[in-house]
């Protein structure tokens, strides 16, 4: 059913069905999967596809939950019939979920209409349209200190400014004025004034352009009449314009009617006031940044982040607009409360939505994905929203006006935010997902197509790098951490600048700050801007077009009048300036004769573009000073300069002379009517500059990138269901094997990141598909269940049977021989040490002797226990458990036994903590994968070689267990060899063991001579050790029934997930007991089995007191765990903690040679051509030369790997001609002044590549990577890595080194030590360091982030560099 998870363990299957349930019932998000990944999806995918097929059917054996619940389920996740018993809450949940589901379908189905609808509604809401009375700006008193201007400036009426004001707008006064110029001059203040003077104000044009002087040769006088309106009224203006045109038809006017200029006056802000607000905005930005950073697994991160922000912002705008619409006038400073509103509304829902949608299975239709994701999160979204609404409503009842207003805004904002999430964001998300789908498909095709052909060479299975793939993740380039480089300083500076893109960053930051400040200054301006856009688009014709939120208007004191009446009012002053004596025309004779009113002969005054811009010539203080006279601040307000209405009045000389009083001042009449109202932002400007800047930046970075290297990355993250860090990684290009601390090995497809096989540590017995794996499971991964299983004799028996009968695992016939007590301590051939735990002590009164350790690996914790019959008197043997005859009852009980044991463990662990920690022994410390062999070195010193069948096992069950057993039998022996524990020694003591062993060796493939079973009465003889039994089995050696007190020691080790326990058995008072070995063969009695848990409990105290005693001894026994391993061809190099380097034949499994030149443990190994570089614990580097004169693997060694093959023998087989010599040794490769670090250091991780490069790279726990010259042993340079990432480095091509950092990988030029690029993998926010890094042949990099793996493809690197 689950081919992909065929190696799965209990938890996995469980979680699988769990997730399946959620998909069908649809009420719970399984966002628990922290970061769902492409590969994870792909892994789920087939399962999912199947589900889709069967879920309408409704019932299936695979879905027990459904039969339990008894609800038929629709494919879309809704249920046909409500179960009778549902709480109200559940019903509500169901309903909400269903509604969201439908909504999701809807959104994903019609994205475009919905987006249109949404934006329309945003616009509608934002422009809280209000038809406005046109009004001129009514002014009241002048500012108190300006009494002297009282005569000139209007008071208590419309603010209408014209030169006529000099004469109080009365023609009589003007007429009687003997010298208008003098009058004008009279009001000018003395002294130098740069700002707007009264004359500027009244004339509305700069003085020198007005032509009002004695020396005006052109005889053209220009002035403007300024009518200040408080709001824009098109009808009024149109009628005004029409009227003026009618009065003074002017020709050649090229001015546009619809050109409006908005001048915005910023608020004056004290720095003190600014700081808190800037802080708030900084926090806001940080919030948005950290929130949107979590968006992952989408096509365009930036796009979605933008959409999220837009959602929130426009919901705010909508709320303001709506509030305005309903007549709530905001009194709060928009800029101040804005960030708080954003924070209150929050981006959480959006993110949750994204996550949920993204974590739906990829192979579903987009619609369905969206729908599922939505409905998964429906409950939490609704709950959150309800909670927030409640909180805010509570705030509303504080009865503080400001808070109430805030709450009101927030409530409306929340609601509109919800609306936008549902309609806008969901739709955007669906579009994004759809794009993602396409990209995903594109990427998947080549990967699948490229899978099958394995290349002949074992080392290089795939030569063609996969085509460059679109990178779904944004790659951020960031400042690299501090590194030591040997570079010229000047270059370093340049590189630094280039690398960090300092300039761009500064510009960006500046822009952001600038925007922030601007937004702060008038965030409300945004919506005004929108409104202005609306009004500007409808070219001035729309009477309501200039919709202004009323609060923006000038203070409500100024009440406007009826447009028409205003018109009449305004008409009056208009003619006032006219009656001047003037001449006109640019070229016209200054004193021409009388010219008709509309004189074609007279040179025309043309109004051109430059006049349109006339306002620009005014002083920038012009408007502020004008309004300041009336104590009106323009801060945060707008002045909109309406289109100029040009009027030309020609005065004939006759008229001029007529009008001339005593003076002859000329005033042509081009009154420029300026109407100013409060309006509109200059935000367009920002937009332009911003986009420009951004484009600039992106362009530059693009360019820079392309000039460097063109990396394209694809990351595939895999989630490990285990909670443990990945301990080692190995790969041969096509396959990738990883092993976590728990000892669980997983095999991945290196191309796609799919998990092919899981070799769990827990001995969940998987059915027949891959027998060998089961065995391996048995080895390392003892869980409580497993053990209990092992306790039951049936299990063991059947296990043995596996070896014999190929896929039919459990020969039940053995059950028929329940009465043979002593015989069956079967150790299946592949059974690891663990099984040995169940050695049974002879039924003796020996109080301390029979101890049996059990360990129960939970997922996270592993407990370890010993069984020692404290009062051994009555019990035959605790070990009888394992050998007790099979009775069904016992089997059933065994789990409970495991359970019973666990509590004991817990109470134990605090006590025996130190001990326990010490006991975890055989986690996999080194691993290599080559071809279909997996070699694993365990901390217990075992070397294990497994064929990696499972990769193929899905397709073909070609594995012949028999053959396998024979072929890998030698490996087991090897296990036996090196991993000598105290137990092993005890084995040597027992003669029977040897006998059986030898016997097995003789009968080659037939492992279990069953005939022995027929001799049940021989207690001591049959400790069968099948030929494949590793040493571990030797634990169960039975001592001859002797009184030998010290002899029977049995070592047990229990691999826990994280920890591994190990024990020794030493009967302290051995005297009285005939044979401890009989234990294992004790007659089966159900009662004993049941008692065993209690027995375990009783045993525990003894252990504690024991262990301190035997400690030193134990330490001696564990000498050489495998710390490093390398596999090349069929040669395995293993470095041991004892400092020994061993070369093994991987096919045949014998020790080719060993070298004991070094003393300190080998921590890492690497093959060079025919060299092996070994790094030692003391920080030294050794270079070994391997010479082989004969091809390996020809010899068939059949004999039992004798005890003589204990690691002491340097050359095991005389036929072998492989020799290994230490050629060179570099002491203190890693020097660090602090000895503390240095001693811990020197864990050389990788020796570099084999071809042309001359360097060896080493890195240590001091996080220093040193590059050495291979031939000379000179250190070229070193690179300081980030803490904890010392082990992560790899060489991609000849000149490209890749190292891992905190959540990133960096690429270095190997030859010069330059940092080329740092790529952030968009990993977990906390920036887990890359613990290990592995380079595959196909230019992919595997990074190990603790419990996650990332696959990074860098195909283009190879293309470019090679």
């Amino acid at each position: 059913m689950f081919p992909l998870f065929s190696g799965g363990q209990a938890e996995q299957l469980h979680s699988l069905s769990e997730s399946r349930r959620e998909h069908c019932v649809n009420h719970k998000a399984h966002v628990k999967l922290k970061k769902p990944t492409v590969s994870a999806f792909r892994g789920l995918q087939r399962v999912q596809a199947r589900e889709i097929n069967w879920s309408p059917i409704g019932r299936s054996l695979d879905a027990p939950w459904r039969t339990v619940l008894g609800r038929p389920v629709l494919p879309n996740g809704r249920e046909l019939t409500k179960p009778t018993k549902m709480t109200l809450r559940e019903q509500l949940r169901e309903k909400i979920s269903a509604a969201f589901y439908r909504h999701g379908l809807l959104c994903a189905s019609y994205p475009v209409p919905i987006i249109l609808f949404t934006s329309a509604s945003i616009l509608t809401c934002c422009s809280g349209i209000r038809s406005l009375e046109s009004l001129c700006l009514q002014v009241t008193d002048l500012f108190p200190g300006l009494r002297r201007m009282q005569s000139v400036l209007p008071e208590h009426g419309c603010l209408l400014v014209s030169p006529g004001n000099y004469w109080q707008n009365q023609r009589e006064l003007f007429d009687s004025d003997p010298d208008p110029l003098k009058t004008i001059q009279k009001h000018e203040p003395k002294g130098l004034h740069t700002s707007a003077t009264l004359r500027d104000l009244l004339f509305g044009v700069p003085v020198k352009h007005s032509g009002v002087s004695h020396y005006n040769r052109k005889r053209v006088v220009t002035y403007t009449i300024t009518v200040v309106l408080s709001s824009y009224d098109a009808r009024f203006l149109a009628s005004l314009r029409g009227r003026l045109k009618q009065l003074h038809p002017s020709a050649n006017c090229t001015l546009r009617d619809d050109h409006m200029v908005h001048v915005h006056f910023k608020e004056e802000i004290g720095i003190a006031e600014l700081i808190p607000l800037v802080t708030t905005y900084i926090i806001l930005f940080a919030y948005i940044y950290f929130s949107t950073r979590k968006i992952d697994m989408v096509k365009s991160k930036w796009g979605l982040a933008l959409a999220a922000v837009v959602t929130v912002l426009s919901s705010l705008l909508m709320s303001v607009g709506l509030c305005t619409l309903f007549g709530l006038t905001p009194t709060l400073n928009g800029g101040e409360i804005f960030p708080y509103l954003v924070v209150v509304i929050g981006l959480e829902n959006v993110l949750v939505l994204t996550k949920s949608v993204v974590s739906t299975p990829v192979d579903l239709e987009v619609k369905l994905r969206i729908a599922q994701g939505l409905s998964n999160e429906s409950w939490s979204i609704m709950k959150n929203m309800a909670t927030e609404l409640c909180i805010i409503l509570i705030g509303y009842f504080t009865l503080v006006p400001a808070i109430q207003e805030f709450c009101l805004f927030a409530v409306v904002g929340l609601v509109s935010d919800f609306f936008l999430q549902m309609f806008f964001f969901t739709t955007v998300l669906s579009i994004d997902i759809r794009r993602m789908e396409l990209a995903d498909l594109n990427r998947r095709l080549p990967a699948e197509a490229g899978m099958p052909p394995p290349k002949p060479g074992p080392l290089r299975t795939r030569e063609v790098p996969p085509p460059p793939r679109p990178s779904p993740h944004t790659i951020t380039l960031q400042t690299p951490a501090f590194r030591n480089l040997r570079l010229p300083k000047r270059l370093r500076v340049v590189y630094f600048l280039a690398r960090t893109r300092l300039a761009q960053r500064i510009i960006m930051a500046g822009t952001v700050i600038w925007i922030g400040i601007l937004v702060y200054t008038d965030p409300a301006g945004i919506r005004t801007y929108l409104a202005a856009q609306v009004s500007e688009q409808s070219p001035l014709g729309d009477p309501g077009g200039g919709g202004l939120p009323p609060h923006l208007g000038v203070a409500p004191v100024f009440r406007g009048g009826d447009p028409t009446s205003t018109l009449s009012i305004h008409r009056a002053p208009d003619p006032t300036p006219l009656p001047e004596n003037q001449s006109q025309g640019h070229h016209g004779p200054p004193r021409a004769g009388p010219i008709p009113q509309s004189p074609p002969a007279v040179p025309q005054i043309t109004w051109g573009e430059e006049d349109e811009e006339g306002w620009r010539r005014l002083s920038f203080r012009h408007w502020p000073s004008l309004f300041s006279y009336y104590n009106i601040t323009l801060a945060k307000r707008y002045i909109s300069i309406l289109p100029v209405i040009p009027i030309t009045v020609h005065l004939t000389p006759q008229e001029a002379i007529d009008a001339r009083h005593p003076q002859d001042t000329r005033h042509p009449q081009p009154p420029i009517l300026k109407v100013s109202a409060d309006l509109q932002t200059d935000l367009t400007l920002y937009n332009c500059s911003l986009s420009l800047c951004l484009r600039n930046c992106s362009w530059r970075s693009c360019k820079e990138k392309s000039s460097h290297l063109d990396f394209s990355f694809l990351k595939i993250k895999n989630i490990f269901l285990s909670y443990f860090d990945i301990e080692c990684l190995a790969s041969d290009g096509m396959l990738l094997a990883s092993c976590c601390l728990a000892g669980q090995i997983r095999v991945w497809d290196a191309q796609t990141g799919d998990c092919l096989t899981v070799i769990p540590n827990h001995g969940l017995r998987r059915s027949s598909s891959s027998g060998c794996w089961d065995h391996r499971n048995g080895w390392d991964s003892m869980t409580g269940a497993q053990e209990s299983e092992c306790l039951s004799p049936e299990r063991d028996i059947s296990f043995n049977g596996d070896g014999l009968t190929e896929d039919e695992l459990y020969p039940v016939r053995r059950r028929t021989t329940p009465s043979r007590p002593t015989l069956f301590i079967d150790q299946p051939d592949l059974t690891p040490l663990i099984d040995t735990n169940f050695t049974s002590q002879p039924p003796s009164h020996l109080s301390t002797a029979p101890r049996a350790g059990f360990d129960f690996g939970g997922l996270v914790e592993r407990a370890y226990m010993e069984h020692e019959p404290p009062s051994p008197s009555t019990y035959a043997s605790p070990s009888s458990a394992s050998s007790s005859p099979p009775s069904g009852a016992q089997l059933q009980r065994s789990p409970s036994l495991g359970e019973a044991a666990t509590p004991v463990i817990q109470e134990r662990s605090p006590m025996g903590g130190a001990q326990a920690a010490g006991d975890w022994e055989s986690s996999v410390w080194a691993m290599e994968l080559r071809g279909n062999l997996i070699a694993a070195g365990r901390s217990s010193g075992k070397l294990e070689v497994c064929k990696n069948f499972t990769c193929h096992s899905e397709k073909s069950h070609t594995v012949d267990p028999l053959r396998r057993s024979s072929s890998s039998g030698c490996w087991d022996h090897r296990n036996g060899w090196d991993s000598m524990t105290g137990a092993q020694e005890s084995e040597c003591l027992s003669p029977e063991r040897d006998i059986s062993f030898n016997g097995d060796g003789l009968t080659e493939d037939e492992l279990y001579p069953v005939r022995r079973r027929t001799t049940p009465s021989r207690p001591t003889l049959f400790i069968d050790q099948p030929d494949l039994t590793p040493l571990i089995d030797t634990n169960f050696t039975s001592q001859p029934p002797s009184h030998l007190s010290t002899a029977p020691r049995a070592g047990f080790d229990f691999g826990g997930l994280v920890e591994r326990a190990y024990m020794e058995h030493e009967p302290p008072s051995p005297s009285t007991y005939a044979s401890p070995s009989s234990a294992s063969s004790s007659p089966p009695s159900g009662a004993q089995l049941q008692r065993s848990p209690s027995l375990g409990e009783a045993a525990t105290p003894v252990i504690q007191e024991r262990s301190p005693m035997g400690g030193a001894q134990a330490a001696g026994d564990w000498e050489s765990s495998v710390w490093a391993m390398e596999l090349r061809g069929n040669l395995i190099a293993a470095g041991r903690s004892s400092g020994k380097l061993e070369l093994w034949d991987a096919v045949e499994g014998w020790l080719c040679c060993s070298n004991e030149d070094g003393v300190s443990g080998i921590t890492a190994l690497a093959f060079l051509n025919n060299r092996i570089v070994a790094a030692r614990l003391n920080g030294s580097l050794d270079f070994f030369t391997v010479e082989m004169n004969k091809p390996l693997g020809l010899l068939q060694y059949r004999g039992p790997p004798g005890r003589s093959s204990m690691p002491q023998s340097p050359c095991y087989s005389s036929e072998d001609v492989i020799s290994c010599q230490l050629t060179r040794s570099v002491q203190c490769a890693h020097q660090k002044p602090i000895t503390v670090l240095r001693a811990a250091a020197g864990r050389v991780v990788t020796g570099s590549q084999d071809h042309t490069v001359r360097c060896v790279i080493s890195s240590g726990l001091d996080d220093l990577i040193c590059i050495w010259d291979r031939s000379t042993g000179i250190k070229l340079y070193s690179i300081q890595q980030e803490v904890g990432c010392g082990a992560s480095l790899g060489v991609i091509s000849e000149s490209l080194l890749v190292t891992g950092g905190q959540g990133c990988v960096s690429f270095w030029d190997l030859n010069f030590g330059d940092l080329l690029q740092t790529v952030y993998l968009g990993q977990s926010s906390d920036g887990q360091g890359v613990r290990q890094l592995l380079v595959l042949d196909n230019a992919a990099i595997v990074c190990d982030f603790g419990s996650e793996l990332s696959l990074v493809y860098v195909p283009s690197v190879l293309e470019k560099l090679d």
Partner: protein, 231 residues
């Protein structure tokens, strides 16, 4: 062999200690700077409202308070920020609620908002002010913390802080323009409480982030090392 085994812990222990110490120092420094910054900014708000008065020789804008105020705040922030994760680990209940930077930022923003409200919003009377702020603070706790230890610690420190402030005021180090109640501004405990929650939040997050690699690393070393030792 044995020698090697024995010597490794001797070497590693100082290393681990070093890691922890630097980690602690870095965290402390970050928290301190955050505290100083917030104190400056928030005090500015109060000064604008003329609530706190300092001797007149202060410079105008930023350093409008006495020099020791930000320092005290920074120290307190560092202490609180270190105390919270410490207490969490002591109690053995790691704080798992909303452990994200975005949430922390939100918390800080709300805290600033509370300050803002207390400084800028006109309340009818002080009781209303205090009640509102108390509600807001508790809302803050509920939204971002929800741990009993956090609440208790917050209350305690708020109490102590208020007490200390009162002592200062009593001794004339500085004064409020209009004390509400026994020389104390009545909103002070609420602000303290919210501040404690906020700093605790930051501290926990920092501890989470800074600890992870180190702890993984240390545990990794430890596992190997203890294995060596015990075997």
């Amino acid at each position: 062999k044995l020698v090697k085994v024995i010597e490794s812990p001797r070497i590693l222990t100082p290393f681990i200690l070093l890691c922890r110490t630097t980690n602690l120092l870095i965290r402390g420094a970050m928290l301190f700077s955050v505290g100083v910054f917030l104190a400056l900014v928030l005090n500015l708000l109060q000064v604008q409202r003329n609530i706190t008065l300092f001797p007149p020789d202060v410079i105008t804008s930023i350093f409008s308070s006495a020099w020791w105020v930000p320092l005290c705040c920074g120290t307190a922030a560092a202490m609180i920020g270190l105390l919270y994760p410490c207490i969490d680990s002591r109690l053995g209940e790691p704080h798992k609620f909303k452990r994200e930077w975005s949430s922390v930022m939100r918390c800080v923003a709300v805290f600033v908002g509370i300050n803002h409200a207390s400084a800028k919003v006109d309340f009818a009377n002080n009781v209303q002010l205090s009640l509102t702020l108390a509600a807001l603070s508790i809302g803050l706790w509920w939204t971002f913390d929800r741990s009993r230890s956090g609440f208790g610690l917050g209350i305690c420190i708020a109490f102590l802080g208020t007490l200390a402030t009162q002592l200062l005021v009593y001794n004339g180090v500085f004064q409020y323009t209009s004390p509400d109640f026994l020389y104390i501004r009545s909103w002070l405990p609420c602000i303290f409480f919210a501040g404690v929650i906020t700093m605790g939040n930051i501290g926990r997050q920092l501890a989470l982030v800074r600890n992870k690699p180190v702890y993984i690393y240390i545990s990794y070393i430890k596992a190997k090392q203890s294995l060596l030792l015990n075997s």
